[in-house]
């Protein structure tokens, strides 16, 4: 069992996301550490790419702040090394950065370096199962996980392909579109989870979750974890715009993380016993 699967073993996992280097290297360290204090089970660390086609406005702005602060893949790896946290870390980025890293063409040098600094896996939103072969192979070589995103549009056939290249957990996209906080949970989430009930990987739901209540709803509906990005990035962005002290922003992040985590736990405890499918 990989680091990532382990994180889901003991109740619902809370998986927060922040963009590394947003708005600068040092603050970003403090923010990620605050997430751990708030109860993160896994942290998704964004390595900013100039063309973030799967991101909504909130994370796009974070990407711009981070790139303007000079974040590079090497600084990203240094950052992971500098982080003082004790939860598994997943690198979320786009394939071109993975592909370009190092002297040798292809994803292997990037994965090797990721393993070296202690990352546990990857989420690459623009890498569908069909193109994931080389990265999957490198992950296998260095013992890292490749987390795939399952969309509401993913059908049975594609799901099979996806699962076959995935490990760690499945990133279940709660609704169509791009990342971004929403005020309510999509109706499609429960249906998606239901479709995935036979898959033998933890299911973490993301896209649009911004409150403890939403986290509870999602977990109650059967999610093994909740992924929260934009709601947390909003806190960073607002702190940046208001020029707030880093410690204050970190406190706010910790507190929001705590609420989200508590929501997930609450949802878990409210979960109805699953009906046996075979009884129908």
């Amino acid at each position: 069992m990989s680091d990532l699967s382990t994180a889901f073993a003991d109740g619902p996992a809370f998986v927060p996301y922040l963009a590394v280097g947003d708005p600068d290297y040092e603050s970003s360290l403090a923010y990620v550490e605050a997430l751990e204090r708030g109860g993160a089970d896994v942290v998704e660390l964004g390595l900013p790419f100039s063309e973030p086609i799967a991101e909504g406005p909130t994370i796009q702005e974070a990407v711009v702040r981070s790139l303007e602060a000079g974040t590079t893949p090497d600084l990203f790896f240094e950052f992971v090394g500098d982080l003082e946290v004790d939860v598994p870390l997943v690198c979320m980025t786009y394939y071109n950065l993975v592909y370009q890293y190092g002297e040798e063409r292809g994803p292997r040098p990037f994965v090797e370096k990721a393993a070296e600094v202690g990352l546990s896996g990857f989420v690459v939103p623009d890498l569908p199962a069909e193109e994931a072969g080389p990265l999957r192979a490198a992950c296998d070589e260095f013992g890292l996980d490749l987390v795939s995103i399952v969309a509401p549009t993913t059908d049975e056939e594609r799901l099979g392909k996806l699962v076959s290249v995935s490990s760690g957990y499945l990133y279940v996209q709660a609704r169509l579109g791009v990342t971004g906080a929403q005020s309510s949970v999509s109706d499609r989430t429960a249906a998606s989870l239901d479709r995935l009930s036979d898959v033998d990987l933890p299911k973490a739901v993301g896209f649009g979750i911004s409150s403890g209540e939403q986290a509870a709803t999602v977990v109650e509906a059967g999610a093994d974890g909740v992924i929260v990005g934009s709601a947390l990035v909003d806190v960073v962005g607002e702190g940046y715009r208001n020029d707030d002290p880093v410690a204050d922003v970190a406190d706010r992040l910790e507190s929001l993380a705590r609420e989200l985590n508590a929501g997930a736990e609450r949802g878990y405890s409210q979960r109805a016993p699953r009906p046996e499918r075979t009884s129908e």
Partner: protein, 408 residues
């Protein structure tokens, strides 16, 4: 879906089912002419689009250069550019697929106007994403799209050009993929787009190849086409690719320099075939303008339509194979060529197109006795930029515009 090592489908999972559905539709309707799709497409291209376009001998350029210069007149296609060939094909395909909404990106606005026209013609709601900077550079095209009933949504991220518009359109598509078709404007993006757009544009070389055999009595020695994303390029080249004696020149925007400024992340050109390196952008593996880390750099060209950091994967492959020769023409030479064609042949070309004529001007001696240049579009949309840039650069062969100052 690959051209050698280029191409592929590097898109979010949410889009993959739509891309599979599109691939299926492409194979059935476009390749298989199911339900007479190709027949209807050809008929509409003729009656609504104005095809075939002529292949015209350029008398005065032929005399000037001592070589037979022929012009493939895509500027005469409805809307003023080759873009309609593809836009009409895709909007019609979307209709066959039962889609209810069209989204598109646009750079210079030519693809956006073509898509808006095709959507109005076929009664499909249409939304076009356009970089804010391009909106300011190509305002008449914005008005044309609105007048055709399309929504035009400004994209404010990044430098506000084509690259950002594509990203934003992909986001819209990811949100509305079930009832929406994304009419991508060039031979870029995930499979099947590069192949499908090429097939829609291949009518250019299909006609030109017949026409030059009739007009000049033989195949040309060279075919020249400007290359941004590469749709007019692949359209003009496709049917000549098997003719090994026909040299194919993809003329890129050399901008102000072919050097990339790594520090600022800016390439003062859009010459991804000439100077770019392999990478993954907007759904496919291709040649890109990127920095050492893999971040896409900001491209530049005097012409909005060439101002893009990527290029079609098939072109990248044909360049690697040695079948297509990539060359670059800078802003100044393109502007001079714009005025030359306007004054000597009575054809005002798009600034994109002018790059091909800039190359012809500088290298005509080495191109052989019969040369076909693809006039990919007309330059009405560029009048304002041309007047400004001509004035700022003191372009030597330009007319004096001072008596009519004050902009358009």
């Amino acid at each position: 879906g690959k051209f050698g090592e280029y191409g592929g489908r590097y898109v979010p999972e949410a889009l993959m089912p739509a891309i599979e559905e599109l691939t299926d539709a492409y194979e059935r309707y476009v390749l298989g002419n199911e339900d007479g799709f190709v027949d209807e497409f050809r008929r509409r291209l003729a009656e609504f689009g104005g095809r075939p376009t002529p292949l015209q001998r350029a008398d005065r350029l032929s005399e000037r250069y001592g070589t037979e210069v022929y012009l493939k007149r895509e500027d005469l296609v409805h809307g003023g550019a080759h873009k309609l060939n593809n836009a009409l094909g895709q909007v019609l395909l979307a209709k066959y697929m039962g889609k209810e909404r069209i989204v598109a990106e646009t750079g210079a606005g030519q693809h956006g106007t073509a898509t808006a026209m095709a959507a109005a013609h076929l009664g499909m709601p249409c939304e076009v994403y356009m970089g804010e900077r391009d909106i300011n550079r190509q305002r008449p095209n914005v008005f044309r799209m609105r007048i055709n009933g399309a929504a035009v949504t400004p994209v404010t991220t990044g430098r506000g050009t084509l690259k950002e518009a594509i990203s934003e359109t992909m986001r819209d598509w990811a949100s509305n993929v079930e009832d929406t078709h994304y009419v991508i404007g060039s031979v870029v993006g995930p499979h099947p787009f590069p192949r499908m757009v090429r097939d829609f544009q291949a009518v250019i070389s299909e006609e030109a190849r017949e026409q030059i055999r009739e007009g000049a009595g033989r195949l040309p020695d060279a075919v020249l086409a400007c290359a941004g994303g590469g749709s007019n390029t692949m359209g003009a080249f496709h049917r000549f690719v098997p003719d090994e004696d026909v040299d194919l020149y993809a003329v890129e925007a050399g901008g102000s320099s072919l050097e990339v400024d790594e520090r600022t992340g800016v390439a003062p050109n859009s010459a991804s075939l000439t100077t770019g390196s392999e990478g993954v952008l907007h759904g496919s593996r291709t040649k890109l303008l990127q920095d050492g880390h893999g971040q896409i750099v900001e491209s530049h060209s005097i012409s909005s339509g060439l101002d893009y950091a990527g290029v079609g994967p098939e072109l990248a492959h044909l360049v690697d194979e040695g079948r297509v020769t990539p060359v670059a023409v800078d802003d100044d030479a393109a502007l001079a060529a714009f005025h030359r064609l306007s004054q000597e042949e009575g054809i005002i070309p798009a600034l994109e197109t002018a790059h091909a004529f800039g190359y012809l001007h500088e290298h005509h001696a080495g191109l052989g006795g019969v040369v076909v240049v693809n006039v990919s579009g007309r330059g009405d949309k560029d009048l304002e930029s041309v007047v400004e840039e001509t004035d700022a650069r003191g372009t030597p062969n330009a007319p004096d515009m001072s008596a009519f100052g004050g902009g358009l």
